[in-house]
Symmetry: C2
Subunit: 236 residues, 2 copies
DNA sequence: GAGTGGTCTAGACCACCCT
DNA sequence: GGGTGGTCTAGACCACTCC
């Protein structure tokens, strides 16, 4: 019954590779549980601890989700694609859930590229998701503390570019910084992903035609939920 | 001597958080070793295994690098920034090391968005790096198998857009897909990073004015080495 | 109550580096 | 030879879910 383990530098790595193959081959199906740690332990003839180690690595790369008391489930892979070719991240059909509004300084070091204001800003944090699906992204928008109440309300209710559209405010320029990061504790809780899970981030600075209104922010999503496309036509 | 551990859901998480704080506070300095597992074990009053668990998590998020036989070192954080505003990833001053040239089919599922050819292509794989620095990126370029020898040579020696420039071939259109991923075994070895390490990827499709020459490829880099910027001026 | 995954510990062995 | 991190195992306890 003991399957052939791939030659590899370590046992847990071989186990991980074999389980991953089964997932990719369809031997284990999305949204269904894989055999329990105890079962796999006897099947592979290795310690339960080694199985757990392999499963933990599979969680880290987004292949499975473990729920204590229930089992370990194969994760369904479905990525949302945002096109940035016109500078706008189109999310008109998305839902928004406001998480918090607080006075806060912009602290992320990657943000320094945009020369953000040193003083405290008004930070609007929200989740972006589609009905019936796991949360897509977490957005932190930083506004000048003296903006109108009406503007804050719009940013609390809709994604950035759509909020601007509904307010009738024109965009002058958008700067993006796209990078990958690892989920901090709070973000990991929100998305129900392990601490340190890879995140795709888009930092933005939006300048508008409305005097004094410049918007900074970070939109981040688990790496297996979102990607960006971009098309550039050569001039002439 | 036992320091106060942050209230948290688990011991190894508290330890990880405390060590991360020390790194960010400058108590542990870049490129220098932190105390050994045994030392930390007695300092925190927890099992060495728990320390190892915390250190492994810190490796996974790119905070430290462990070298068996030497110690665990704080990783220096320096990210290279590529501007994509004109569609070109400028890498003129970078060095290139050819890794392999082989006939291969394009297999990455994310690539399907570009409708790549189903038949086998010529795959040129190379490292991109700056002198005296750890490798920056790993590029896989897929060419039609019937391209000229001279063209293959240029792609083996230089980054894609620069190779085209030197060949005097004009670009008609570039499509990008930017996402995050986790390092497969082979890639992890090349970069000397742990298996499953977060990677920032840029998939591309370049169409040219030269008849029949369309280039597909994937450029990937460890998440803590590279990020992309993009600036969009609003028309009118 | 039985089964699940998550955590923590103890102890052993290995490969590697440095002196 | 002594120190380092990496691996594997055994065994225990917990919180949770489902029947």
């Amino acid at each position: 019954m003991t399957p052939q383990l791939r030659a590899s530098r370590s046992l847990h790595e071989s186990v991980r590779q074999e389980l991953l193959n089964r997932i990719q081959n369809g031997a284990y199906l999305p949204n269904l549980p894989i055999p329990s740690t105890a079962t796999l332990s006897s099947e592979f003839g290795v310690s339960p601890i080694t199985i757990k180690r392999a499963l933990r690595d599979l969680q880290a790369i987004g292949a499975v989700t473990a729920i204590a008391g229930k089992g370990t489930f194969v994760k369904e892979q479905r990525r949302f694609l945002i096109d940035l070719s016109d500078g706008i991240a189109h999310l008109e059909t998305a839902n928004v859930r406001l998480m918090s509004i607080a006075n806060e300084k912009i602290s992320d070091p990657a943000m320094e590229m945009f020369n953000p204001p040193g003083e405290a800003t008004l930070c609007v944090r929200k989740m972006i998701f589609f009905a019936g699906e796991p949360p897509l992204a977490y957005d932190s928008t930083y506004l000048s503390p003296d903006v109108d109440e009406a503007i804050i309300d719009k940013f609390a209710a809709r994604p950035v570019t759509e909020a601007l559209g509904r307010l009738g405010i024109r965009i002058r320029n958008i700067s993006y910084l796209i990078d990958a990061s690892t989920a901090a504790r709070k973000v990991a809780e929100i998305f129900a992903i392990p601490n340190g899970y890879p995140m795709l981030r888009r930092l933005y600075k939006v300048t508008t035609t409305k005097k004094g209104l410049t918007i900074f922010g970070i939109l981040q999503a688990p790496f297996d939920r979102l990607s960006y496309s971009l098309n550039i036509q050569s001039e002439n």
